[in-house]
C-alpha cells in the first residue's frame, strides 16, 4: 500500500498494545506535531489506527516568570542587598537598598510585598530590617520557576497557585491525542507500506499525468507575510471625483467641458460680478500675461452684459456704480471657478441654445490665489451643477441638494441665506458631518439673477451650486489635510495605501 510519507512514518511508530502520544511520535519521526496529528486523522479514516484523547493540565511561564527564573526574584535581590548593607544588625533606609538591589518601577513594590510576605524581614517607615537566618536556598517559588523553565513539571499546587496569583505562570488545559494501531493497521504493516512521493509545487505535468492523486504536498507556512506588490491605482481624488460624477449622472446631469484659461468676460462679467469686485483684484486670481487677451467675445452678448452692469435689467432694475471696460473683460485668467463653463453653456457658446429642462454639471479644476493651508490649495476641483427649467423655486434647490448630499451620508441640511453677485436668493449649505455630527459648511448655491440670465438670453429659471471636491472628500473620508494629496509633493506611499473610495 502506498501512503504519503508522514502517514507511513506515523503508522510505523504506532503500537498495537499501547497508546503513543502524538507529540512523542512527532519528535521521533522529526515532523511538526500538527502534521503528525493530521496524518493520524487520515490514518484513522482509513481504519489503520485508533485515536484517543485526554486533557492535561499545562503550566507555562509568563514573560515575567521567565525573567525571574533567569535573574532571580526581586524580593531575593532586596534581601541580599539589605543583608550586605548590614540590615541584620540595624535598619537600613529603603531608598539606598533599591539602588543597590537594582530594582526600579513596579519591581520595587513587588519586592517589598513578597519580601514581607515571606518573612525575610520587615519594612517600617521606609527602613528595612532583615532576618539573618532566612533560608533563601529553599525559596519554593524560585525553585518552582526554575523547574518549569527547565521544562519539568511542578506538582505542588499551593506554590503553583501562588505563582499564578503573582502572574508568573499561565495555567491551561490541553488536549493530548494518542495513537494505537488497529488490527487493519497491523495487517497493512505486515503486507508492507511504502511512502508516496512528496512535492513542492503543483505542476502542469502532475495534473495531466494524474500523479497528483498519490503525491503528498509539502506544507507551506501559510501564515507568513508575502512580498509586497504595488498595483497601479487611480488617484484618490480622482476616485472621489468619479463617485461624484456617478451620483450626478444618476440624477440626470450632463457633463460640461470647456477652457481652463478663459476671458474674464466668461469668468466674471457674465456672472454680473462688478469689475471693481474685490475677487477680481490681482491678488485673488491668476491673470495671464502672455497671451494677454481673448480674440473674440460675441458683440451682442458684450453689449447686453455691459448694459446689465451699468443699468440693470427689467423696469425697476439698477446696475452697479462701477466702471465697465470691455478691454478688462477680454483679459485672460485661469478660471477662479468653473461657473465660467456654466456661463458659456447658458450663452449657447458651448452647445448652442439650450431649451429647458436641462441639468448640467462639471467636476473640474479651478484656480484661486488663496492662502495655502490644510484645506485650501491654489488648484482645487470644483463640483458645479445647475438646473434649468421654466420655473424653479428655492424649494427645488433644497430638494436637489438634499438628494445629492444624502448620497455622501450628509443629512439635516440647513440653508443660510447669503450673498453672491450672480444668485438671489443665495444660500450657504450646512450639513451634519457623518462622523462628528458637527454642523459644517458644504457648499454655496442660489438661483441665478436676472442680470446674469437676461444678457445670455435665458428666459427661464436656472438654479446652481458649487462645492470643493476636496471638502467633500474630507467629509466623506475623514481626511484632515489635503495639501499633499494633489501635486508633486505627493507621497507614493499615500497613493499606494490610501483606502479605496467607492
Amino acid at each position: 500500500m502506498q501512503l504519503p510519507e508522514t502517514q507511513v512514518a506515523v503508522l510505523r511508530a504506532a503500537d498495537a498494545q499501547s497508546q503513543r502520544d502524538v507529540t512523542d511520535i512527532a519528535s521521533e519521526v522529526g515532523e511538526q506535531p500538527q502534521a503528525v496529528a493530521r496524518a493520524a486523522f487520515e490514518l484513522e479514516e482509513r481504519g489503520l489506527v485508533d485515536l484517543g484523547e485526554r486533557t492535561e493540565a499545562e503550566v507555562t511561564l509568563t514573560g515575567e516568570g521567565e525573567d525571574y527564573a533567569a535573574d532571580g526574584l526581586p524580593e531575593l535581590a532586596l534581601y541580599e542587598a539589605a543583608l550586605a548593607a548590614g540590615a541584620a544588625e540595624e535598619p537600613v533606609s529603603l531608598g539606598r537598598l533599591i539602588g543597590e538591589a537594582g530594582l526600579d518601577g513596579d519591581a520595587v513594590d513587588i519586592a517589598l510585598a513578597n519580601f514581607a510576605r515571606k518573612g525575610y524581614g520587615t519594612v517600617d517607615s521606609g527602613d528595612v530590617t532583615v532576618d539573618a537566618d532566612a533560608d533563601l536556598e529553599s525559596d519554593a517559588e524560585l525553585q518552582a520557576l526554575e523547574t518549569l523553565a527547565a521544562g519539568d513539571a511542578v506538582d505542588d499546587e499551593a506554590v503553583l497557585d501562588q505563582l499564578d496569583r503573582r502572574g508568573l505562570i499561565d495555567r491551561d488545559e490541553r488536549t493530548v491525542r494518542s495513537v494505537t494501531l488497529t488490527g487493519d493497521g497491523v495487517t497493512a504493516l505486515m503486507e508492507g507500506v511504502e511512502a508516496a512521493e512528496t512535492v513542492d509545487r503543483l505542476t502542469p505535468e502532475l495534473l495531466t499525468s494524474g500523479e497528483w492523486e498519490t503525491v503528498e504536498f509539502t506544507d507551506y507556512n501559510v501564515e507568513a507575510d508575502a512580498d509586497d506588490i504595488e498595483p497601479g491605482r487611480k488617484h484618490a481624488l480622482r476616485e472621489m471625483a468619479d463617485r461624484v460624477k456617478d451620483v450626478l449622472v444618476g440624477m440626470g446631469f450632463q457633463e460640461m467641458q470647456g477652457p481652463t484659461v478663459d476671458a474674464d468676460f466668461w469668468i466674471h462679467d457674465c456672472l454680473f460680478m462688478p469689475q471693481d469686485h474685490p475677487a477680481r483684484t490681482h491678488w485673488d486670481r491668476f491673470a495671464i500675461e502672455n497671451p494677454g487677451k481673448i480674440d473674440d467675445v460675441p458683440d451682442d452678448i458684450v453689449d447686453r452684459v455691459k448694459t446689465a452692469h451699468s443699468d440693470g435689467v427689467g423696469e425697476d432694475g439698477e446696475g452697479y456704480h462701477s466702471p465697465w471696460d470691455e478691454d478688462f473683460a477680454r483679459q485672460l485668467a485661469l478660471r477662479g471657478h468653473t461657473t465660467s463653463l456654466t456661463a458659456r453653456h447658458l450663452a449657447g457658446e458651448a452647445l448652442g441654445d439650450l431649451e429647458p429642462p436641462q441639468r448640467f454639471f462639471s467636476v473640474e479644476k479651478a484656480y484661486r490665489n488663496d492662502e495655502l493651508d490644510a484645506t485650501h490649495l491654489l488648484e482645487f476641483f470644483q463640483i458645479e451643477g445647475w438646473v434649468m427649467a421654466e420655473e424653479l423655486s428655492v424649494r427645488d434647490l433644497m430638494g436637489t441638494f438634499t438628494e445629492f448630499y444624502e448620497q455622501f451620508g450628509i443629512t439635516d441640511l440647513e440653508f443660510k441665506p447669503t450673498y453672491n453677485p450672480y444668485t438671489e436668493p443665495s444660500f450657504e449649505l450646512f450639513g451634519r458631518h457623518p462622523e462628528t455630527g458637527e454642523l459644517i459648511e458644504i457648499g454655496n448655491s442660489g438661483i441665478f439673477r436676472p442680470e446674469m440670465l437676461e444678457p445670455l438670453e435665458v428666459d427661464c429659471d436656472v438654479m446652481a451650486w458649487g462645492l470643493a471636491l476636496e471638502r467633500l472628500m474630507m467629509l466623506a473620508t475623514g481626511a484632515e489635510d489635503i495639501r499633499d494629496v494633489h501635486g508633486t509633493l505627493v507621497d507614493l506611499e499615500y497613493l499606494r495605501t490610501e483606502e479605496v473610495i467607492y
Binding site: 484659461v261 427689467g314 440653508f415 494633489h486 505627493v490 507614493l492
Partner: protein, 571 residues
C-alpha cells in the same frame, strides 16, 4: 467677509429685547444671514455677514434689522432733516477724484462707546463699499473747530473741496508738527498706507475752511477738526470716484448717527461750472434720503419661494424687512435709502424669504426629467486611465501651474522649440510665488518631480498622469491651446526602452489605434533610444529612455523610461 463686534447687552437694549437669551438672539440672526463667529476678549459677539448688507456694518444697523424682524419697527423710516446751513463748494478738484458729498449731524452724544462704534463703521465702509478708500473715503470733523467762509451763492457758511500743491502745509492727525502732503505720504504712519491712491496726481485732493486746509482725502484728516467723545456737532464729508457710492455711504452713516439721537442737517454740494465729473454746474442737496420702488407680482414671489402666500403674510414679511408696501395690481415695495443691495425686484423676494424663514419652506425634488451623461472627452480620459492602471501605473494628479526651471531647464528643453514640451509658455502676471509662474507645456516634468520626491520609496515606480498642458497658440480664440496629455514614466532598475514601448503598444492596441515609433531626437532623452509617438499617422508625442543628465539632475538613481503623447490621439 465683514465682521462687526457687538456688545450683546447693548444689542438687547437697542432692540428692546432685554429678556432674550443669547442663544435665541443668535438663532434669529443666523436666519437673517448674520453668523456668530465667536467672542472677542471683551465678551463682544463677533458677527459675520456677506458684503451686500453694508447697512449692517455697525451695531446700530444690526439692531435695526432685528427690531424689524421682531416687529418692534415696521416699514420704512426716514429721519427728518433740517435745512442746509453749510455748502461744500467744489472747484479745481483732481480729475481722478471728482465727487464729494456731506451732511451735518448735531447734538449727538459720542460717549459710552458710541464714538468707537462710529469709527468702526467708518473703517468697515472704507474696506467694503469704499474699495479701500479708492472709490469712497469718509471724513468726520468736529464742527466747533471749523470756520465757514462766506459762500458764493450767499449761503452763510462754506467749505471748499479742491486740490492743493504738494507743498501745502498742515498738521495731520496723530502728529504735532506741520507736514506737507508729500511728507505725509512718505513718513506718516497712517498716511503712507494710502499713498497709492494719490500716486500720479499733480495736485492732491484737499478740503479747506476759512482758516485753511483741514483734510487731505482720501489719506488723512487734519488734527484741528479731530472728533472726540466730547464732540457734539459733526461735519461728515465723503470724496470719491462715484457720486452714488459716496452718497450711499453717507446715508448709512447718517442712519447710524440718527439712531444715536443725532439731528441731521442737509448740506449743499455746489459743483463749479468747470469742475470735473458729471455734475459740473449742478447743486446737490445731501443726504438724499429718497426711497426707490420695486414692483413684484404675487406669482413671482410664490414661484421663487415655492409656496402659496396670502397678501397679509407678504405685507407682514416686507414690513419686518424694513420695507413699505403698497398693494395695487402688483406689490409696490418702497426701499429705504440705506439699502445699497437692492438692484432688482428679486432682492425684495429674498428679503421676504429671510423674514419668513427659508428653512421653513421645506425641500422638494424638482419635477423635471432630464437624461444624465458623461462628456465624451472625459469618458475617453477615464478609459485611458483605467487601462494605464491595469498596466500597473500609479495614477498621479499634479498642478497645471509650474515654472520655467521645472518645465524646461531641468528637462533640457528650450522654450519655443519644435519638440514635445517645447511650446511657447502661457505665463502668469506678477506671479505670487516663484514656483507658479506659467502653465506647464507638458506633464513629464511633473512626473519627474514626483519621482524626485519619492526616492525613499520602493522601486519599481511606474507612474502615469493624464492632465492638462497648454501653450500659446494664436489660432485659438483664447490664444491658448489647452490639451490633455498622457505622461508615463517607469523608474525601475530593470527598465529599458522596450518596456515603455510594450506598454504604449498595449495601450494603443486597446484603443484600436496604430502605433509607429520612428527614431527622433529630443533633449530629454538618450539619442538613439528616443522615438516620436505616431498614432494613426500623426506625430503626437515622444517615447524613450530619459537622459542620464535629467535622471541625475532629479537625484534619481535608477533608469527612467518615459513617454508623453496627446490624449485626443486615442479618440
Amino acid at each position: 467677509m465683514p465682521v462687526v463686534n457687538v456688545d450683546p447687552d447693548e444689542l438687547r437694549e437697542l432692540t428692546d429685547q432685554r429678556d432674550k437669551s443669547e442663544d435665541d438672539l443668535l438663532d434669529d440672526m443666523f436666519g437673517l444671514g448674520l453668523e456668530f463667529e465667536g467672542e472677542t476678549e471683551d465678551g463682544d459677539l463677533k458677527v459675520e455677514f456677506e458684503p451686500d448688507r453694508l447697512d449692517w456694518l455697525s451695531i446700530e444697523g444690526i439692531a435695526r434689522a432685528l427690531r424689524y424682524y421682531y416687529g418692534e419697527d415696521r416699514g420704512v423710516a426716514i429721519p427728518s432733516t433740517n435745512d442746509p446751513e453749510w455748502t461744500i463748494e467744489v472747484e479745481e478738484t483732481p480729475e481722478q477724484r471728482p465727487y464729494v458729498t456731506g451732511a451735518v449731524v448735531r447734538d449727538v452724544d459720542l460717549s459710552d462707546g458710541v464714538l468707537e462704534s462710529i469709527l468702526q463703521l467708518q473703517e468697515k465702509l472704507h474696506a467694503t463699499m469704499g474699495r479701500g478708500r479708492a472709490k469712497g473715503a469718509i471724513g468726520i470733523h468736529d464742527m466747533t473747530m471749523l470756520k465757514g467762509a462766506p459762500a458764493k451763492d450767499g449761503a452763510e457758511k462754506s467749505i471748499r473741496y479742491t486740490s492743493m500743491s504738494p507743498d501745502e502745509r498742515f498738521v495731520p492727525l496723530e502728529s504735532d508738527e506741520e507736514m506737507t502732503p508729500a511728507e505725509v505720504l512718505d513718513a506718516h504712519h497712517m498716511g503712507s498706507d494710502y499713498a497709492d491712491l494719490v500716486a500720479g496726481m499733480d495736485r492732491y485732493p484737499a478740503i479747506y475752511d476759512d482758516i485753511g486746509l483741514f483734510s487731505f482725502p482720501p489719506v488723512i484728516n487734519g488734527r484741528r477738526t479731530e472728533v472726540t467723545e466730547d464732540s457734539r456737532d459733526l461735519l461728515i464729508e465723503m470724496t470719491g470716484t462715484d457720486q452714488w457710492t459716496v452718497d450711499h455711504m453717507l446715508n448709512i452713516v447718517c442712519y447710524a448717527l440718527s439712531a444715536r439721537g443725532g439731528r441731521l442737517e442737509r448740506v449743499e454740494i455746489s459743483y463749479d461750472e468747470d469742475a470735473p465729473g458729471e455734475y459740473a454746474g449742478h447743486t446737490l442737496d445731501r443726504p438724499d434720503l429718497a426711497t426707490k420702488t420695486k414692483t413684484v407680482t404675487h406669482d413671482r414671489i410664490e414661484t421663487v419661494l415655492g409656496v402659496g402666500f396670502d397678501e397679509e403674510t407678504i405685507v407682514d414679511c416686507a414690513e419686518r424687512s424694513g420695507l413699505d408696501v403698497r398693494v395695487e395690481e402688483n406689490y409696490e415695495f418702497e426701499i429705504p435709502p440705506y439699502r445699497v443691495d437692492v438692484l432688482h425686484p428679486v432682492d425684495v423676494i429674498d428679503d421676504i424669504g429671510r423674514v419668513y424663514g427659508f428653512n421653513e419652506l421645506g425641500p422638494r425634488y424638482p419635477d423635471v426629467a432630464t437624461v444624465g451623461t458623461r462628456h465624451e472627452r472625459s469618458r475617453l480620459e477615464d478609459a485611458v486611465r483605467e487601462t494605464l492602471v491595469g498596466l500597473g501605473f500609479e495614477d498621479l494628479l499634479n498642478f497645471y501651474m509650474t515654472n520655467e526651471r521645472e518645465n524646461f531647464e531641468r528637462l533640457g528643453v528650450e522654450p519655443g522649440t519644435d519638440v514635445v514640451g517645447g511650446g511657447e509658455p502661457v505665463t502668469i502676471i506678477e506671479p505670487y510665488s516663484e514656483a507658479y509662474t506659467m502653465l506647464r507645456t507638458w506633464a513629464l516634468p511633473s512626473v519627474m518631480q514626483v519621482l524626485e520626491n519619492n526616492t525613499h520609496r520602493s522601486y519599481p515606480q511606474h507612474l502615469a498622469e493624464i492632465g492638462l498642458a497648454a501653450c500659446v497658440d494664436e489660432s485659438e480664440n483664447t490664444n491658448v491651446a489647452e490639451h490633455r496629455t498622457v505622461s508615463l514614466a517607469m523608474a525601475d532598475p530593470e527598465a529599458s526602452y522596450e518596456d515603455v514601448r510594450a506598454r504604449l503598444q498595449a495601450l494603443t492596441g486597446r484603443f484600436d489605434a496604430e502605433l509607429e515609433t520612428p527614431a527622433t531626437e529630443h533633449p530629454s532623452f538618450i539619442p538613439g533610444r528616443c522615438a516620436a509617438v505616431v498614432i494613426d499617422g500623426e506625430s503626437v508625442g515622444v517615447v524613450g529612455e530619459v537622459h542620464p543628465e535629467v535622471i541625475v539632475g532629479h537625484d534619481i538613481e535608477v533608469p527612467v523610461v518615459a513617454a508623453e503623447f496627446r490624449l485626443d490621439a486615442l479618440q
